[in-house]
């Protein structure tokens, strides 16, 4: 038993300190303000303080820490993307993930399970090979595997998918992992807090003050703050915030839903994704099957659940695992995914001086939490886009320089 636990028992009193301080008042000014205490905002705060010595920083959160998409996501972490710029970026994230728990001294339940993207058609096989070839070229573990490898990893899977969509092969990505989403936000939050960053929950940004094309400050439900630099890391609320500074982006919001079963004894030890059946599934350390499907097909700025989603996903789950008929769905929920036309994020400086954007994370941004924090803190501190994010600049849409990620990201998470 880890020593840490002995200490809990021997100490009569619970001796764990607060993870984040409470602040009764906002200061009148900060060197930088981060909007959104999701994983991305908190990671940026953490690296700003740790790597760039900026500690007079406030993170403003309208709800609570990690309560946005960070706390709703299905936590699939992988780097087997399609474009070289995507692979390089997400691979840099995986490298950070691997040591993050030790850095924080917090268990993030980072669990490397391997990730199979199943192919049911020959065109899917072509895409899998494309990804594998690009990944291997970039030094990322990724390969096209046949049905036997899939069956070895998951003998319970019906390889014909009820006869509707026989599995022809898969893209296998050994580094594929999952992690405990809340702990990631708390770890970054605690680390930032310990270094002097102020995290203000229940503090909503209502307006941003821009004069002469420069950020001056912002108004919150708790008063005005002046600041020269604002990082917008609000995922599903991005259009509302970019509207405050008159910035146009091609982001539209679609709900993305997910659901979990009651706990059952673990049997699924890998992560499975099927694009054709719109299913991705893993089993948590609590024993719940955590499942998602593709985006809701229309634009809605809401986190309501739909019955259609639960019905469709359940049907596809049973195609893959008929023996789960008696297993019950405990809970379903939704987040607001900030979708871009090319399934890649929008990061970096903007035409509004002092306004930095970290958005367009859609259905795939959790895995990018560490690297986006790293690169955005650099960008903010130096007022210069980090090299890794240059392809993700906002101007690429006007320039017709879209990334080619669409082919791989559509249901991959």
């Amino acid at each position: 038993m880890p020593l840490r636990l002995l200490r809990f028992a021997l100490n009569g009193k619970h001796s764990e300190p607060r993870m984040f301080r409470n602040h009764d008042t906002l200061k009148s000014s900060y060197d930088a303000v981060i909007i959104g205490a999701g994983g991305h905002g908190l990671a940026a705060a953490y690296y700003l303080a740790r790597d760039h010595g900026m500690t007079n920083v406030a993170v403003l959160e309208k709800g609570y820490i990690g309560g946005g998409n960070t706390g709703r996501n299905t936590t699939i972490i992988r780097s087997n993307y399609l474009t070289p710029e995507g692979v390089e970026f997400y691979d840099a994230s995986i490298k950070l993930w691997e040591d993050l728990g030790q850095d924080f001294d917090l268990n993030l339940f980072y669990s490397k399970r391997g990730h199979f993207t199943l192919a049911h058609t020959d065109s899917a096989m072509r895409t899998m090979r494309w990804r594998a070839e690009v990944n291997k070229h970039m030094g990322v573990e990724s390969e096209v595997v046949g049905t036997k490898d899939i069956q070895d990893a998951c003998p319970q899977l019906d390889m014909t998918c009820a006869g509707h969509a026989p599995i022809l092969g898969a893209l296998y990505h050994a580094p594929g992992a999952i992690a405990r989403h809340d702990a990631v936000a708390w770890g970054y939050g605690r680390g930032a807090d310990q270094r002097g960053v102020e995290i203000h929950q229940r503090t909503e940004v209502l307006n941003i003050d821009v004069k002469g094309g420069r950020v001056q400050g912002l108004t919150t439900n708790r008063g005005y703050i002046s600041t020269p630099k604002i990082l917008c890391a609000v995922a599903g609320s991005t259009p509302r915030v970019t509207n405050m500074v008159g910035l146009r982006t091609p982001i539209i919001i679609h709900p993305l839903q997910a659901m979990v079963t009651e706990p059952i004894k673990p049997w699924l030890n890998t992560i499975l994704v099927s694009g054709s059946l719109h299913v991705y599934v893993s089993q948590s350390d609590r024993g719940e099957l955590v499942m998602g499907a593709s985006l809701d097909p229309y634009e809605v700025q809401s986190t309501r659940s739909t019955l259609d989603f639960a019905e469709g996903l359940s049907a596809h789950m049973l195609d893959m695992f008929p023996f789960l008929s008696n297993v019950k769905i405990n809970r379903q929920w939704a987040g607001m995914a900030d979708m871009t036309p090319d399934f890649a994020p929008i990061m970096g400086k903007t035409p509004v001086e002092g306004f930095y954007l970290d958005a367009g994370w859609g259905t795939w941004g959790f895995k990018a939490t560490p690297i986006s924090g790293k690169t955005m803190s650099y960008t903010l501190a130096n007022d210069r886009d980090h090299d890794l994010i240059k392809s993700f600049r906002l101007s690429r849409f006007a320039e017709y320089e879209l990334t080619g990620e669409k082919g791989a990201a559509s249901v991959g998470h």
Binding site: G63, Q102, F109, E133, Q201, L318, V327, R331
Partner: protein, 970 residues
């Protein structure tokens, strides 16, 4: 020892039908009408499960579908809740989540280790050293989870149905029934659902006292029986609330998707536990559970009990218990002021000790932890301070709690109700209800029976008025005089084990500690402690968690707020949600011909298409090669009926095509065809096909197989904006299509038609309407596969006839059918692209080397602005043909292999095949502009090795296109 009571009037069990079953390897018996838990209780079994984390013994708590510590498994049926699952003959049950059986569960050691495992302990450990992480994870995964799935269990295909009603009433307690009656009286069609197997809710099990509840229930039921507009459905769970009153009703057999015009939520309230040390021992349960056991199942819930009360219901329970032979040792009332109703006297009159202003400080377990031995009682003042110096120990084998309720409001929350904390009842009640949603009874904060009946009547009238019936509410409801819920039924204990959440094994101190660590708002507290995340979704823990947090933070409960309630109300099996599943599969009218010709099929969107036609002793490659050979040298026939087929008519038909395609159609002559490319707003190629002009205002055109539905949808969407005078019809299913191809195809066709098929009469790229095998047909001379060929489109009903006639006419020329694979190779030899294989999500017509098809000077077409911009930009890559020298002997080139220049990826193969006619690999690839000139060399990475290739001109085969225009002589 049997705990079965003599007959109790209104009991749900059928004593004439005994049932034998097994639990944990021992034989028991119960009756039809029992649940698993009631039958076990009747047999004297108290320990029925182990808790999730500490593996403590647990038994009945609620008998109301929240007893998630009593989950049992029978073969493939897992996580069955004992408290509500009907007993069936022959069940062979085991408690889930034990290691070595319920009694000897090896994991019970965790209970003794609990001091090492405080709230959130797992975040603080097991992450270093890094090399041990995997081992810890394995241990966690071995311990976690509840039931075990049986991988051999067959899929259960459950039917679904749709239903409609004016008013859906959820809950058949007094307020629900009264709402149903008043809504029906106003003329509404009403459906009442109740998750319980019996009607009446509270009226059915709460019998004693001033109201004769069974008489009231009988009265309501009589009215309902006489009211044809009311349909009562029992054992039916309203499992969620979705937009526009869309409520899935789940019963054992199916899910019914109910669309109601108005919904009355009369779902009652959940009895809440008091929190004291060892409050989870078997034998400690809600007073309502004890009453359910008596009145529904005729089971004596214990023999000597202490009742812990903070409301009238606790007193009434004491009376009922006494009347059914249970010895009530004492009634402990948390409230210093005690009970003000006559029940106080009634209890006292039975000789039961009433200890007002007292609490249970702790429960003492029996020596083997299989139940409770005694209750330790201490005085507790109005501030909640417990005087532990004054203790009395009361021996008992049961403790029944009635200290308060939480509204059964998940459906109200899901519907978007704003709730407020009402201090007169110490519970959340609806503040602002959404349109068409109404609440009545306990969920609405109304507890007094007379008032509940009125509240139901009011809600029923309001619901009827909402659907336009009756004149709205005419009754008023008096508020409760005394709160039925205690605001803080908690007792601290230095040794803990005072549980707030039974699903997740959370003790009171876990909440203090979580707050100390900064998790001091309700959402963060939920996430850190996991309160309410278990299978009961916090039905007996969320409210208490809010109370604790309010106390810790010194905030009013209203300000602390609640967490978001999400579907489902109770967990729903995947089988019910999945239903039978529906996979539409499209077959062409020639399916039977393909089957008898030995076709091997492949999926193309929703369609099945012959990949190739197999024969005994012939390999796939051999079969495909023979098909290619037949097309190149003789004659062959392919089914192309899966192509999308569209028709546009009207004065603006030409204009419409000009707008949706990048090419020009206004100058086409009647009788001509033209290739057509479609792009989206961003200038990305999304579809292609052939446009045929049949008349001045009439075009017929094709789309790709997978694109037809989306293209048609997009066309109609666009014309809704444009308002052009044109009719657009999707005739994909009405027409069959086949391509008769090969140098001998003209001869075959000539034998079957009266048309002039000469090169002059029917030239390349022409369209003709005529007859084939006596059937009216549209024929196009197309060039996709590079041989003389006729695409024949005929009404689908004649397809088989025409196919057969062509086969007969071609028999002398060795005609054979060919499949998609041969066609792919043939078109590749001609350098023709397949949209979505040779293009991707960013490919413009320029990238695809189809600049010739784009007429930028047209007034307008979809994507024109983007293409104009792209046309000005330096192009990055372009699609070119390539060839690998015939001497290459390495592994096969495949699509998606990359073109590499030093360390850089400069291109990618989109199509590749070994061409028998040319004797080497040929293909299409994207490549950077700088390397794209014909004759450039490049390197393709094939299985790790670099293979030389050369950019070549397309078509690879018959570059002049002579074969497509073959004269008669050939």
């Amino acid at each position: 020892m049997s705990k079965r009571l003599p007959q109790v009037s209104g009991e749900w069990i059928d004593r004439s039908q005994p049932i034998a079953f097994r639990f944990e390897g021992r034989d028991y018996s119960g009756f039809v009408g029992d649940t698993i838990s009631s039958a076990l209780m009747a047999c004297g079994v108290k320990v029925m499960g182990r808790s999730f984390k500490y593996h403590r013994t647990r038994g009945v708590l609620s008998m109301a579908n929240h007893d998630v510590n009593v989950m049992v498994q029978d073969g493939a049926r897992l996580n069955m809740r004992g408290d509500v699952t009907p007993l069936e003959a022959g069940m062979d049950l085991r408690a889930v989540n034990t290691f070595g059986g319920l009694a000897k569960d090896k994991a019970r050691i965790l209970d003794y280790l609990s001091a090492f495992l405080p709230v959130g302990f797992y975040y603080k450990a097991f992450h270093s050293p890094k090399f041990l992480v995997h081992a810890w994870e394995k241990l966690f995964r071995a311990l976690t989870g509840l039931g075990r799935v049986d991988f051999n269990a067959p899929r259960i295909k459950t039917p679904k149905q749709y239903d409609f009603t004016d008013v859906l009433v959820i809950g058949s307690g007094p307020s629900g029934l009264s709402a149903a009656i008043s809504a029906a009286n106003a003329g509404a069609k009403v459906v009442v659902v109740d998750e319980q197997a019996g009607v009446g809710g509270w009226l059915g099990y709460n019998r004693g006292g001033q109201h004769d509840s069974s008489a009231i229930l009988q009265g309501l039921l009589k009215t309902i029986a006489a009211q044809p507009n009311i349909d009562v459905r029992l054992s039916t769970i309203a499992s969620g609330y979705y937009a526009d009153h869309w409520v899935p009703l789940v019963d054992a057999k199916r899910m019914t998707k109910m669309r109601a015009r108005a919904v009355v939520v009369a779902s009652g309230a959940y009895d809440q536990p008091a929190v004291f040390r060892n409050n989870d021992l078997p034998g400690i349960m809600m007073a309502s559970a004890a009453q359910r056991l008596i009145y529904r199942y005729a089971v004596q819930p214990a023999s000597e009990v202490v009742v812990l009360a903070a409301n009238t219901e606790g007193y009434r329970t004491a009376v009922n218990l006494h009347n059914h032979g249970v010895k009530v040792v004492a009634l402990v009332d948390l409230r210093p002021e005690g009970e003000s109703t006559p029940y106080a006297g009634a209890v006292a009159a039975l000789g039961i000790d009433i200890l007002v202003g007292h609490c249970i400080y702790e429960a003492t377990p029996t020596s083997n932890n299989d139940g409770v031995r005694a209750a330790v009682i201490c005085p507790r003042n109005a501030e909640g301070v417990v005087d532990t110096t004054v203790q009395s120990v009361l021996a008992c084998d049961g403790i029944f709690m009635s200290v308060g309720w939480a509204p059964a409001a998940p459906l109200l929350y899901q519907a978007g109700t704003r709730m407020r904390y009402a201090t007169h009842v110490h519970q959340f009640v609806p503040d602002v209800l959404p349109a068409g949603v109404f609440a009545a009874g306990r969920v609405n904060g109304v507890y007094d029976l007379t008032q509940k009946l009125k509240d139901g009547e009011r809600a029923g009238q309001a619901a009827a008025a909402h659907v336009g019936l009756g004149s709205g509410p005419s009754v008023s409801v008096a508020p409760e005089a005394v709160s039925p819920s205690h605001p803080y039924p908690f007792v601290d204990h230095p040794n803990g084990k005072n549980f707030v959440d039974f699903d997740e094994d959370l003790q009171l101190k876990d909440f203090y500690n979580a707050a100390q660590e900064g998790f001091d708002n309700i959402e963060l507290m939920k996430r850190f402690t996991t309160v309410g995340m278990g299978p009961s979704q916090g039905k007996h823990s969320n409210m208490n968690a809010i109370r604790v947090l309010a106390k810790i933070t010194q905030k009013p409960i209203q300000e602390v707020g609640t967490t978001t309630a999400r579907p489902f109300f109770h967990p729903v099996p995947l089988s019910h949600l999945a239903g039978r599943s529906f996979y539409p599969e499209r077959l062409t009218p020639l399916q039977s011909r393909h089957e008898s010709a030995g076709a091997v099929f492949m999926q193309a969107g929703a369609w099945l298409r012959p990949e190739y036609y197999g024969a005994a002793g012939v390999t796939r490659e051999g079969a495909i090669a023979a098909e290619v050979q037949a097309v190149r040298t003789g004659v062959a026939l392919i089914d192309v009926g899966t192509l999308g087929k569209m028709e546009v008519f009207g004065p603006d038909a030409g204009e419409f095509l000009e707008r949706i395609y990048v090419g020009r159609y206004s100058n086409m002559k009647v009788g001509a065809t033209r290739y057509a490319v479609m792009v989206d707003e961003a200038g990305v190629v999304i579809d292609d096909g052939v446009v045929a002009k049949l008349g001045d205002n009439h075009f017929y055109f094709t789309t790709t197989t997978t694109g037809s539905a989306t293209v048609y949808r997009e066309m109609t969407r666009l014309n809704t904006q444009w308002g052009l005078n044109v009719g657009i019809v999707n005739v994909t299913g009405s027409f069959a299509g086949m391509n008769l191809a090969g140098p001998l195809s003209r001869k075959v066709l000539a034998a079957l038609t009266s048309m002039d098929v000469s090169e002059a009469g029917f030239p390349y790229l022409a369209v003709r309407e005529g007859d084939v095998a006596g059937v009216p047909a549209r024929l196009m001379r197309v060039g996709f596969i590079g041989e003389l060929g006729y695409e024949i489109h005929i009404p689908a009903t004649y397809a088989a006839h025409v196919w057969d006639e062509i086969m007969k006419a071609g028999a002398g020329f060795n005609i054979r059918p060919f499949g998609v694979e041969a066609q792919r190779l043939l078109r590749l030899e001609k350098g023709h692209i397949i949209v979505s294989q040779d293009t991707d999500g960013l490919t413009s017509p320029f990238d695809a080397a189809m600049s010739w098809a784009v007429k930028l000077d047209k007034p307008f077409f979809v994507g024109q602005r983007s293409l104009k911009i792209l046309n000005e930009k330096a192009r990055k890559q372009v699609l070119v043909g390539f060839a690998v020298p015939g001497s290459y002997r390495g592994p096969a080139l495949k699509e998606s292999h990359l073109v590499i220049d030093g360390q850089r990826i400069i291109g990618r193969i989109t199509s590749v095949a070994f061409s028998e006619s040319l004797g080497h690999f040929i293909g299409l690839m994207f490549i950077e502009m700088a390397q794209s000139a014909v004759g450039s060399h490049c390197k393709i990475r094939v299985d790790g090795k670099l293979v030389e290739a050369t950019v070549v001109k397309t078509p690879f085969y018959d570059p002049e296109g002579a074969r497509q225009k073959l004269e008669e002589s050939a």
